[in-house]
Symmetry: none
Subunit: 412 residues, 2 copies
């Protein structure tokens, strides 16, 4: 079973945005056992769109198209659809209701442009888009199904998961590919590869392994195919068990787990609370924790102390401690953790102090150097790291590492 992905939008062709939709869609389709033959990015030009619909339809039984659906006049896709599928636009009352509802929530009365969003090709099956005003359209010509989705990533993702993939499963017969993701943190890719080499080599030939590195850690993905689902599940699970014995401390979770999710779960299970005192991470630890719904059960808050006077005035750190050791030091970061734990009245507190860069580094305290401390009921743990000289990346890595230190302490 093959498919092609088409993304419509001049902004991709002039390089203004990177097409991240296609990779996400390709991953999801792959998990359904659908092979992506090619990905094509084309302009908003109606002739070009029509030509592409025509050609892809000759090659594959399923074409997924994103972009070109929206309220403004640079979106001409619907006109092309009518021509290509030999149909006409009609107002869809359900779509109109959805547009009115979405705009109403934002206190907006619909105008002519919005009203036009409710026009859909008569022969299309309409899949509702609860997140946005442009609906998803499912049309068939000859033996090929075409699915048109808006290009806004969160709308497309929600539509794919709730509407499109179930409808595809229903329409086509596909063989599942089983994927399992293991989230690994705190180890370099090359060292990890060495450690798990023997295990990797002895994997059965119908299971493949992929390394997917990111600033948030390394994802290991096992993909198995060709046998019954239960059989695959058993084998893959026992391979994961083997892997867990080799690198127990580095596996933080599975599938969509992140360090904030896993650490949050541990805190909730144990009925414990945490607070943070952030210098170089500037609020990113707080943001990572509070991105998770329900985090107010275990998270009390943060003091982002972006200047020394705040470390003194709000966190109560002795000015001499800062003067003698510098803000980026074991002494200061430990005091930040201890004092914020008291201030917020929590079981644990995390603190960071470092040089985010690109300026501010010295020979002894270079850009990327970060002190992290975790204060708990019985003890305080602190450690110094060097996360490199890219500001964005080292803020992310410091935040994730701080949360991971807490995770490891909670597991003790």
């Amino acid at each position: 079973m093959e498919t092609e992905i088409v993304t419509i939008g001049d902004e991709i062709l002039i390089g203004q945005i990177v097409d991240t939709n296609s990779a996400w869609m390709a991953q999801k389709l792959n998990e359904e056992g659908i092979h992506v033959r090619q990905i094509i990015s084309i302009s908003d030009d109606p002739d070009h769109i029509e030509e592409t619909l025509n050609e892809t339809g000759k090659r594959v039984p399923l074409v997924l198209i994103t972009g070109g659906l929206g309220p403004t006049r640079d979106d001409r896709t619907k006109t092309v659809i009518c021509k290509f599928f030999n149909t006409k636009l009609v107002e869809d009352p359900v779509v109109l209701q959805n547009v009115t509802r979405l705009l109403g929530k934002r206190g907006i009365t619909i105008n002519q442009l919005n009203r036009e969003q409710a026009l859909v090709p008569e022969s299309a099956m309409v899949l509702p888009n609860e997140m946005g005003t442009a609906p998803c359209l499912w049309l068939k010509k000859g033996e090929t199904v075409y699915i048109f989705m808006p290009g806004v990533p969160f709308e497309m993702k929600n539509l794919m998961e709730k509407e499109v993939l179930p409808a595809i499963r229903n329409e086509f017969k596909t063989l599942p590919i089983l994927h399992r993701t293991i989230q690994v943190f705190g180890i370099a890719e090359s060292i990890l590869a060495e450690k798990i080499k023997q295990w990797e080599v002895s994997l059965p030939d119908f299971i493949s392994l992929a390394y997917l590195p990111a600033p948030e850690g390394i994802r290991l993905r096992l993909s198995a195919s060709g046998k019954g689902r239960d059989y695959l599940e058993n084998i893959v699970n026992s391979e994961i068990k083997e892997l867990s014995k080799i690198i127990p401390d580095y596996i933080i979770g599975f599938e969509d787990d992140s360090i904030s999710i896993v650490t949050g779960k541990l805190l909730r299970e144990k009925g414990l609370t945490v607070a943070t005192a952030e210098s170089c991470t500037g609020g990113l630890i707080a943001h990572s924790i509070t991105s998770i719904s329900g985090s107010s059960d275990y998270y009390k808050g943060s003091v982002v102390a972006y200047s020394n006077e705040i470390k003194t005035n709000i966190l109560g750190i002795d000015k001499r401690t800062i003067d003698e050791n510098g803000a980026v030091s074991k002494e200061v970061v430990e005091a930040m953790a201890i004092n914020s734990r008291k201030l917020f009245g929590t079981n644990y507190a995390l603190a960071t102090s470092g040089i985010a860069g690109p300026t501010g580094g010295t020979a002894t305290k270079p850009v990327g150097m970060v002190w992290i401390a975790v204060a708990g009921p019985d003890k305080i743990v602190s450690k110094v790291y060097n996360f490199g000289n890219n500001r964005e990346r080292n803020i992310i890595r410091a935040s994730q590492t701080a949360l991971n230190m807490l995770r490891l302490i909670l597991l003790e």
Copy 2:
């Protein structure tokens, strides 16, 4: 002058990596006045590669191909090249020298696999790759030039800038295209479209407009082509001036500006400081501000008060104010702003309090409802918003809106 970009690699089609090369190349080509007709991602399969070379050559006089050149055995591109261009592989002494030099630097003696990297199609012009072992190949068939580059981003970028673009300029006659981006915030796409309709319709026909919406705002992009560069600059600048008169409050900046960048610049210029007190935004305002290098000049820090007791204990908000009005209220958010301004000793303070969701909403205080306040030396401004029911998005929108409220006050 048109081109097509082809990226070769199964890893793109299974969604393992996002193709960022194409966007970068598209931007560079665009600046040369070369229009990218489409971008195609294909598999490593030789037949598929050959078919694509054949089809792109029928459509455009220039095809840029990345990927499929490298030392490992899944790279079959060179065999396809020989077949397609009817030539054979010969050892290139300059390439061999480069491979030997690069591996030597890493203490590696070349093996058979590396030696094969020095084999190039006899009829190819070889452009040297100083960063890597795979050379860049320039071949012609009929009226079309094909340029093959390695897929490793830093090698490709270096090759494009030092070798490929100069050679293209030399071979083809090209006209420049001018792009200007206007960053718009705080207005819905459909309302913006209505407001600027007249202006848009009266744009000269060699200037086109595109809407690029994101949670962080809407980018409007003007593209002009076909005349001399100075002439285009003048016309585009005067069109932007006209637009600024129509929507003065909504234009936050140009090109890569963001609200944190623009607001940071204003604070620095005026020598003013700011602090934040965040409830529902959970540290994201602090993170947005501190993502900008040098923000410690104007940013003192934040109290993330994720529970009511912290609002009372650290921010000093009267418990009765919270009990009587609820945490998500004008009274509480204003007290948060006023008190944090005092606590941090800054000129301004921003505060947020809202229901991030998905749980916690009520009929009178639904998910997405957020109170935002800005306290300054002379006055306090507060406003209530509804940012919808997606947790991630409404945290982003609340953070950006708070910074925008400060921006507007600083501009008064």
